[in-house]
């Protein structure tokens, strides 16, 4: 007798209300999305979008690029739903994917970014405060670019994405002590570089 066991996913009846979805864990939302409930993946994106976008903007220095990279990251995760294993580590999975895309995009667009940053200096600004803020962010972006990938990743995960030391350790697969050391080194270097610029 031929045996077959189709795997699909369905939610238990009580999970489909919007309030029910927002109370679900990341893993549960992934499993529900895998079962065809797209709304569950939408809730997951909304839950994480502020921090992921903030990390991508700081990393890449350009909002349009950051939006594309973050979107592509979530699309990649959605496409990988059939292979997703629910082990309570969605955050690490998400940020690892995002950082990989940021790394690749950063390297690929580095020369272009520097040209854009230089060109921005020639723009006229009527709002002095906005101009100062933009310059400060440009300086921060260049200072971040001068860090190693390891230091940059830790400082952005901790401060822009607001991950705990343990979550960062899980994402980067390094000990918690190393996370702290790299974080402190990164901030010290950023402060030094920004002090020189100003």
């Amino acid at each position: 007798m031929e045996r077959s066991a189709r795997l699909s996913l369905v939610a238990a009846p009580s999970t489909l209300e919007p309030s029910g979805l927002s109370a679900r864990s990341d893993d549960e939302l992934m499993l529900l999305a895998r079962g065809g409930l797209e709304r569950a993946f939408g809730v997951l994106i909304e839950r994480h979008q502020a921090r992921t976008l903030r990390l991508a903007v700081r990393y890449l220095g350009r909002e349009s690029l950051a939006a594309d990279v973050t979107q592509d990251t979530f699309v990649e995760i959605f496409r990988a739903l059939p292979q997703y294993e629910a082990r309570g580590k969605f955050s690490a999975y998400l940020y690892r994917a995002l950082l990989n895309r940021c790394h690749m995009t950063f390297r690929a667009s580095r020369n272009e970014q520097q040209a854009l940053l230089v060109a921005a200096e020639g723009l006229l600004e009527s709002d002095e405060h906005e101009l100062l803020l933009r310059e400060r962010r440009r300086d921060l972006h260049m200072a971040l670019g001068a860090l190693s990938d390891k230091l940059r990743s830790v400082v952005l995960l901790r401060i822009s994405a607001e991950l705990s030391y343990e979550e960062i350790a899980e994402t980067l697969e390094i000990p918690t002590g190393t996370v702290k050391r790299r974080l402190f080194d990164a901030i010290a270097k950023l402060r030094e570089r920004l002090e020189v610029v100003t």
Partner: protein, 271 residues
Amino acid sequence: MSRRSRDDHVRELNAYLEGEVTASERGTLEAKLRDSAEARRTLAQLESVRALLSAPTRLERMDLASRVLSRARELGPLVEAPSPRARRLERAGIVAAVCAAAVAFLLLRPPQETPEFREKSNGSVVDSGRWAGVHAFRAASAAASVPLTETLRADEGLVFTYTNLGEHPYRYLMIFSIDASNQVRWFYPAYERAEENPESIPIEGGRANATLGELVQQDFSEGPLAVYALFTRGPARVLQIEAWLQQLGRAPDRAPKPGDLLQRIVTRVER
């Protein structure tokens, strides 16, 4: 101040901002901050860097979910990998048959349809007297599922939720079934490759009605079906449990180890 001591000082202030200092260290640093304009300036710079890194962006208000799902749909339907569980199930059946012929005769009596059995089966799994258990639902597709009752159609699959409350919750779960032809079939853990020997799935304590999320359809034989949920303190492996079942030579009525929990849900497969 030497460069090294300046670097140490900056690290100290970083740790202070992160809340990674002892009460004594905090006191020392705060005294230094009160006395030193340079220290206050360094702290302000560090706070400024952190503020720049954590500042919200305009993008945070965008409708990212719509963009993602729209793009994902453009890329076409998701492709499910062929279920390895079917192969594994075949192997489980073959292993059972071989062992029965060779050394010990694997005899699992079909589940008894006694009142006691029914009480343990398809009624409310989690009542006031129980604090761990699974709830089974049947469904034919990704549409809404309904609680499993006395019958299961052959074209339906099962999906489960678990509850794991109490002061000392269990840490692992396995779900398997024994049908009228005495075949052992696995729901959890899932298999990736037929040659693997997967481990029980980890579960969270303090959870009620946590969905396991997968609809699993098996090719059950028509007739009585017993679904077992095994809650354990330590991990167990599929072959270990199958060996235990073979040694028992009958349908299990308790967990293999003291302190673990075996729950049985009885239904009937109809074509």
